[in-house]
Every structure is written in structure tokens, then in C-alpha cells.
Amino acid sequence: MPVRARKIEWCILVAVLAAFWVSVGLAQDQANAAADDQLPADGTLKPAVEVAQQTPAQGTGQVSPQAPANGQAPTIPAGTAGTSLDYLYNKKPAEGSAAAQMADANAVVASRAQAADALNFGKLADPQARHPFDKYLSTSEVPVTTLTAYNAEMKQVSALLTADRTFAAWKELFTLAQYESIDAGVSRELANRIESIWNIGRASDDLGRSNEQLKEDINVSDRNADLMSENIREQDIILQRQANAGNRQGTATARVTPAAGIPDTSPGATTAGGRPAAPTNVSVAGLEGRLQLTQEYLDSLEDRARIKLNDLKAEKLFEDAKRDFASYIQTLSSTGRYQQVVLAADFYRKIFNEDDYPVEIANQVNTSLETARSVRNAVDVFRYDVSRNQIADATTRLQEAFSASPLDPAVLGLERSLKGKSADFLARLDKMQNLIEARDFGPLESIIQDTEQTAVDFDGTKAFALMNAVKLESKLHLGKAKLAAQSGNLQMAMDEFESAAKAWPDNPALQDSSTAFFDTEDTRNQSVTEFDRLIGEKNYRAIFDRQLAFAPAIHGDSKREGQLADALEKIKNAEVATEKANVMRNAGDVCGAWETVEIAAKDLPDDNKLNDLRAELAGKAAQFVEAVNNARDAETRADFGFSLTWYAVAQHYYPASTIANDGITRLSRSILSATGG
């Protein structure tokens, strides 16, 4: 990428960040200003709700649509933190949202913790503690001969240290390190640490030797300075005598320097009479001698300073070595290497030639000894518990011993066959935990019973209680779902079904109920869809024929219930009209029969039954029907006079005709009013 383009990108990035911070600053200013506006005159803070209630009335005098009335809970304004809190705490998180995922994750963790508690997992519920323990249970034991030999070596090292044979003890550490399965090379590392401390001692010895050399140099410088001072003094006396002889009148008296030739250049130097000293009249050779004397003096001072520095350096090396070794002992203690802690503490005492440990090391040694003892006891208890088939307690004891000191010889030497019983027990617990988490209670009961037989101290009461509680919860949800479904509250029914399924997915009643519910709902949905289609087609006859299927399907839907009632009313009227028409036809009044069906067909134009009857009657009352149709056609064309005549003709054929009489009345008024205008 070109450099220029990179610069442009950086500029844009900086501009965007600047704009963001400016907008954040403005928003904060606005928020602060709003907060200031909400502050009352007395300076006390009012609750946000009270402020929200007062603001509309005080500001513009208008009442906001969201303003609470009659002390009802106020509507939380959109875009505030209240909305978010309202969403988080009062509404169910949407599926797939971060809140829903978090809720699901919490539910999983809670379920796992619940199962672990029911099975008395204790510390074994912690995966970090469990994983190495499982690994330990599946590994073979360290042979007894190896453990015995290692312990013998340890005792030998301790004995050598007690006998002040530190170096021999140090060499034995390499022998200990050869027991890889027990020692894991820790003794070799301890030996390396001790060697490094000795190397520091050698460095300290070098510094001592250097100091000795420096002291010799100081002595040489002192002797040289004394000789030079004597020589200068003699030269000064000779020069003085020469000057007295050559210039007896000389008033100046050579001043004898107090340092035997070392010039006094200090400003406060004075003569015996208190007057300032006059410059010494010396030759060039004399001055040279004085400079050499000064150099010797300065060399002596420098050597003394070096000696002091070397002393400090040696002391620091010593302290650092002690601190580092103490830190290493601390590390051994924290990693459970309690045998090595005791051994290293003994080395500490010998290497640094101290009678007692520091307090910290003493505490670690005590802790190590105590822990080693408790580990041995725990292993003994484990063996005893296993012998009595008390596997649950045995496993707990072994886990405690392992977590305290995983490399303790007692732990390492435990037989694999004994550890296998704990491993089997833990595998059963894991399976039971998974079954509880998965709410698969079918095989759980038998596994609990089997485990109680193999591990007599295993208590499955809490697991059974949890299982029964979950089953009851599922049944209760299922009952609520059924009630909700019966009352037509589908949303609540679905929620309750979901809750019942979450509580106990394999609930057999859930399977049956949900299948029945969904079948019913499917039929209902199909019925509703069919009903809507028939309403759209105005096929009220089909709705009438299937009213028994539609009525329960649309129960609670006021709109569709109204449509069903309307459809049934229309069909009922049509049926009445049909019956009436049949009676009239049988009495020979075919025109009246046709007219009855015709009027009824106005509401049901597509009803086949009515249309068939109407067609049949139309053939028998052809003249009347023709007159009515002609009248209607003419009326449609706005030929009102012609239409009136045809209605009169229809009335002529069937004087009782409602259609004809209504048409005559309607058109007469229309014609008279129109022509009159």
C-alpha cells in the first residue's frame, strides 16, 4: 500500500475517532444539562419518575400522551436506560439474542450445579481439580521397591546433612533425581540451585581476593607517599639554605607545609601570624615531586573506595542468594513437593551456615510435614473405606490426598486396582449427572440403585428428590398448558408446553399431550383456513354444512364468529325461503314461489341450491320472470318509464308481487319527482 494512502487512512480514522468523542461529549453535556434541569430549587434530587411526571405539565402545559394518569405507573420514555432495564427484566429475551444466550448459558450452569449438588460431587465438580485426578486414577502405581529405595535415598541425604557433609549430600541429590516417576527431576533442580549458590560464594571469594590486592596497593601508595614527602622536605631545606645564603636580607621565610610537602591550596590557609600565606617559591622539579605525591594519595583513596564497594557487592550477592533459595523453597511448597521442601530447608541451613530457618521457611517446613502426614492418613482411610465398599467416602479421601500432594509416595504407590473402584464410581456419577442434566430419568433410577449397591455409602436421596421434583414440575407445566389450550390461550399453552419439555423432555405424558394438542391445533388451523376461504368465496352453504367443525375452530375469534353467525343466518333465511317456495309451488303459485327464491338469492347469489330452484321456477313463471327482468334491465339503463311499464306488466301477471309493487312505487315517485323538477 502506498505511504500516501496509508496517511489518508490514518487521517480518516483519527477524524472518525474525534467525531465519536465529540458526539459522546455532546451527549454527556446534554445529559448533564437535562439532569440540571431536573434539579429542584432546593438542590435536592428528585426521583426520575417524579421528574417524568412533572416535566410535561411544568414545561409546556400540555399533557403528554405518555404521561401517567391517576397515579398509574409511568411509561418509561424510549431511548433511556429504563427501556433497556425494562426489556432485560420484564420481557423475555428474543430467541437468538445475546440476553437469551446468556440466560441459556446460566440455565445450563445452574442445571449442572444442581445435578452436582444432588450427587454430592463436592470438590470433584471442579473440572480443574477433576481432570488431573481422573488421570491419576487411570495411571499405574509406582512399584513399592522404587518407593522404598527413594525413601532410603532421602534419608541418606538428610543424614549426610546432619553430619555436615553438605557436598556429599548435594551429590546424592543427583541420585534422587534418577527416580523420575517419583522425583520428576526436582532433586536435580534443587542441586542446581545449590550449585548456583556456591558459585555466588566463589564470586564473593574473588571479591575478597581483590580487596586484599587493593589493600596491598594502599600500603604501597602510603609508603611511596612517605618517601616522596621525605625527599621533598630535604629538597626544601636545601633550597632554603641556598636562599638564606644568597639573599640574607630576604625577608621571606620558606614556609614548611604541614603535610610534609603536600601543597596546601586551601583558601583558609594562613601563616602563623594570621596573615595569608604567601606563594611558596618552589622549583619545577619540586613541583613534579609534589604531583606524584598527590597521585599516590588519590590512588590510596580510590583503593579504599573499591574495597568498600566490593564488600557491599559481596554482601548483596549473599542476600540475593538467600532470598532466591527461600523463594525456591516456597515454590516447592506451593507445588506440593513437601519432601523436597524439608530437604531444601536443611540445605539452606547448611549452605548459609545458619542455625535456624527464617520464619517463612520454618512455616513451610511445618506445613509440609503436616501435609505429608495428612496425606498418608487420607490414603490409609481410603484403603479402609474401599475394603468396606464405602467408595464414595474413599473417593473423597483419595481426592483430598491427591490434591494436597499428588507426588507423595503414599499417593503414588496406591494400587491401580483400588483406584479403579473410585474411577468406576466417578464414571457412574458422571453418567448420573449427565442424565440429570439431560432430564433423562428413565435409566437414572436404575443407575442410582446399582450405585447404591456397589458403593454402600452413596446416598441417592437427593438425586431421587431432584428427579421427582423435576417430574412434578413438568407435570404442573403440562397441566397449565392443557388448561391454557382449553381456554384458547395458545401463547400461554405453547409457553407451558415449552417449560414442561425443558423440565422433563422425555415425559411420556408430554409426548401424548403435545401430539394431541398439535393435531387439534393443526385441524383447527386447517378449519380456520378453510373457513376464511369459504368466506372469501361467499360459499355460505358450505360453511352451513360444516358449522360443527368451524364453530370450535373459531371460538374466541370475534370477527370470525360474526362471519359464521352471518353465514348461518343467510342460509337459514335461504332454507326458509326454499320451504316457502316449495309450498307456494305446490299450491300453484309459481310466480310467488319464484319471487320468494329470487329475494332470498339476493343474499346468496352463488348458492347452488337456490339457483337450481330459481331456474326451475323461472321456467314455470316465464312471463312474470321476463317482465321482472325487463323491468330491472330498463331500470338499470335508467329507462324509468319503460321499467315502470314492465313492473306494471309483472304486477299484471302476479298482482301480489313484492318486486313489482316495490318497483312501481319506487319508479312512480322517481318519475314524478324528476319530471316535476
Binding site: A634, A638, D639, F640, G641, F642, S643, L644, T645, W646, A648, V649, Q651, H652, I664, S668, R669, I671, L672, S673, T675, G676
Partner: protein, 158 residues
């Protein structure tokens, strides 16, 4: 059959007793009879002449004599063929559909040759003072106007 033949042959031998007698009335009686016949013929001729003259005068005085009778069947088939034309008709009152001042009276009439009624608007000026009753017959001049409504331009009780 045989018996009937026997009766017919028995009457063939019966004769009236006055078949051979002569008349005793004089011949002057036949002259008067002849005169009477002449006078009667004259009277008949006079009466016929008067009647003819009356009918002739009446025919000549009828303003609708040139109009065609209103074709009810044709009208009911399609009024548009008759629109704008004037007809005469002797219609019987069938029903009164209404009256409006300034507009007229809407009536139903039936033609003598078609029992199907037709609606006729009798304008106020034409129907002025006329009292229509069912069964009355009126001679009207008719015109079919827009919308197929029949208007009576004259209406005279028949």
C-alpha cells in the same frame, strides 16, 4: 226403418179442403200496401243520410284521425323504435300511480287489444279537471319520450 216408410206413404194420400177455393178480398187493398212500402223506403234513406252525414262530420272533426293506433306489443318489445312518434289510443284506466302539481298524473292504462298495462303520464294541463276511474275509457294522443315514458298530449273521455 220399415215402419217409418209405412207412415210416409199414408200421408201421401191426404189433401187440404181449401185447396180448390178462390179469394173473396177486393184489389184496392194492394195499392195502399205498395205506398206504404215506398214511404218506408224513403224514411230509411233519410235516416241513412242523416246518419252518414253525422258520421262524416264526426270523422272530419276528429283531430286524431291521422294518427296510428298505439302498438302496445311493439312498445313493450322496444320503446326506442317508437320514441318521438305520436299515436292515438283508446285506453281503459287501470290504476292511478300518483299526482303531482305542475307535473301531472301517472296512470296505468290497458289497450283494448292487449291486456298488458302501460304507464302513461298525463301532464297537468291535459289531465286538468279529469277524474279518472278504473274502467273508464279515454281517447288519447300519445307520444313516447326519453326513458320510454308515454306522455298523453290529449286525453278525452270516450
Amino acid at each position: 226403418m220399415k215402419r217409418t216408410g209405412e207412415v210416409e206413404s199414408r200421408f201421401e194420400h191426404v189433401a187440404s179442403p181449401f185447396a180448390q177455393a178462390e179469394a173473396t178480398v177486393p184489389s184496392g187493398h194492394s195499392v195502399r200496401s205498395r205506398m206504404g212500402w215506398i214511404i218506408a223506403a224513403i224514411l230509411v234513406l233519410v235516416i241513412a243520410g242523416v246518419a252518414g252525414a253525422w258520421f262524416t262530420m264526426r270523422y272530419l272533426n276528429d283531430p286524431l284521425r291521422t294518427l296510428d293506433p298505439f302498438p302496445v306489443a311493439k312498445y313493450l318489445d322496444s320503446y326506442k323504435g317508437l320514441a318521438g312518434s305520436r299515436f292515438k289510443g283508446t285506453f281503459s284506466v287501470e290504476a292511478d300511480l300518483g299526482w303531482k302539481d305542475g307535473t301531472g298524473r301517472l296512470m296505468l292504462f290497458t289497450a283494448p287489444d292487449d291486456d298488458r298495462p302501460v304507464a302513461v303520464m298525463i301532464p297537468a294541463g291535459v289531465a286538468n279537471g279529469t277524474f279518472f276511474e278504473k274502467g273508464q275509457t279515454y281517447l288519447m294522443a300519445l307520444e313516447v319520450k326519453e326513458g320510454g315514458l308515454i306522455y298523453a298530449s290529449t286525453c278525452k273521455k270516450n
